[in-house]
């Protein structure tokens, strides 16, 4: 038979249906003979009723909501490599011709090696977009892997040159490129070559991390992006064995660390003021 105090401590999880069957039975037995606990249980249920009857919002049109939101979204440089619709290919061909002329003139010869802090970098991006657009589907994966490798080369160079923001941009572009290639990488035409390429990307990612850690910057965002990119490769490889590392931070709210283990028969800790077993960013 449960004590009066224990029963009162367990009434809230009991009312929320969170106790195991045998625990429920023990509470039931006590309540059957205890008017005070029965009355308290009624109060707990009344409070629950109030909490669950807070009404949902009436329907809200999405379009005006989005337009208002879009107007205040911070502008970020779009780093994805676009897929151009076919009707624009003529324009692109002209652009390609222009780039070719520029190359002939010598000014674009340096573009393929341009780094994100170079004025020629936009030329390089255009060249890459054109190259990818005109690549036949069966060669597309090879080009994507080359471009992914190029992004890591840039990220490493920027980290070494103490330009962490540009390194972050290259790492984000890497993630987008590798994400685009993910489906093809799951089923590559040449599995050994694809595996070797992914392995090489891992080595390059490690080099970016090393360059970042070696500098005075040791930028946390670069570190996070390297970890995220590594996760991405794990996912593609099917070797994702969980993640570790710095949690995401939203404003002042840090995403806490480990995923909690389910507890089969949780025991309430009712005298809980300040008695949480783990403090999170939500605790002030």
């Amino acid at each position: 038979m449960l004590s009066h105090t224990t029963t009162r401590d367990w009434l809230i999880p009991y009312a929320d249906g969170m106790l195991a069957v045998d625990e429920r039975h023990r509470i039931d037995s006590h309540i059957a003979g205890c008017a005070a606990c029965a009355a308290e249980l009624r109060e707990v249920r009344e409070l629950n009723l109030l909490l669950v009857t807070l009404p949902p919002a009436p329907p809200v049109a999405f379009a005006p909501f989005w337009l208002k939101l879009q107007a205040v979204l911070p502008q970020r440089r779009v780093l994805r490599i676009p897929r151009f619709p076919s009707y624009r290919r003529l324009g692109l061909a002209l652009a390609a011709a222009t780039v070719a002329l520029l190359a002939a003139a010598g000014s674009a010869l340096a573009a393929p090696a341009a780094l994100p802090d170079s004025p020629l970098y936009t030329v390089k991006q255009l060249e890459e977009s054109i190259r990818l657009t005109f690549t036949p589907d069966n060669d597309r994966l090879t080009v994507q892997l080359q471009l992914a490798s190029e992004r890591l080369h840039e990220a490493r160079a920027m980290a070494t040159n103490h330009k962490p923001l540009l390194a972050e941009n290259s790492l984000r572009a890497f993630r987008v490129t590798i994400n685009d290639a993910a489906a093809a990488l799951k089923n590559p035409p040449d599995p050994p070559a694809a595996k070797a390429a992914v392995k090489a990307l891992r080595v390059e990612l490690a080099a970016v991390e090393q360059a970042n850690a070696a500098g005075a910057d040791d930028d946390a965002d670069v570190r996070q992006l390297v970890l995220a990119a590594t996760d991405e490769l794990d996912r593609i490889d099917g070797t994702d064995a969980g993640t570790t590392g710095t949690p995401v931070v939203v404003g002042e709210q840090a995403t806490p660390q480990p995923t909690p283990q389910p507890v089969s028969r949780p025991t309430p800790q009712p005298k809980s003021s300040g008695g949480d077993s783990k403090k999170t960013s939500g605790d002030h």
Partner: protein, 199 residues
Amino acid sequence: MAKVQDAPSLEEDAEERRLIDRSAAGDQEAFRQLVLRYHRLVINVAFRALGELALAEDVAQDVFIKVYKALPGYRHDKPFKHWLHRVAANAVTDALRRRRPIVSLDGMEQPPASRDADPQDIATRHDLQRAVRHAIASLPSHYRDTIALQAFGELSYGEIAKTLDIPLGTVMSRLNGAKKLLRERLGSLAHDEEEANTA
């Protein structure tokens, strides 16, 4: 208690990852699709917390701006929905605390009542709902954040544990403490409501 939707299928999960990564890279069309998926959820959380649609929409806008800014650091190490719930819960409890306890006369903010509903009952219910919201806002932060996920986000104990990354026992302990304080602060209001319902 209402349950949140089941976990997305693998295909949906892959699609969501793609949208998140593209949004993180600055693709606003991808972000639009993410917002389209979740705006209803966030507005609902905010409305249940604040009781005013215009204010709920403003808070929902803030939530998505925070999400957009933070997405480049998101690592897929927890479901996006849990992460979003946490951002939303923090935003609405902040808004709730900032908001002065005013008595609104605008019945249009509440969902339409049935024709048979007694106007006096409706007014009483709205007063109760306001009292509950303000009582939640007055709780210590660790209680407030936890019960906000239950009352406003309609999450189960397990989902709260995952969202806050705390053990289930801690969720239980916090909800226990929060509800005891709420009962003290709401006094006889809940009891009166129950009597009104059974009358």
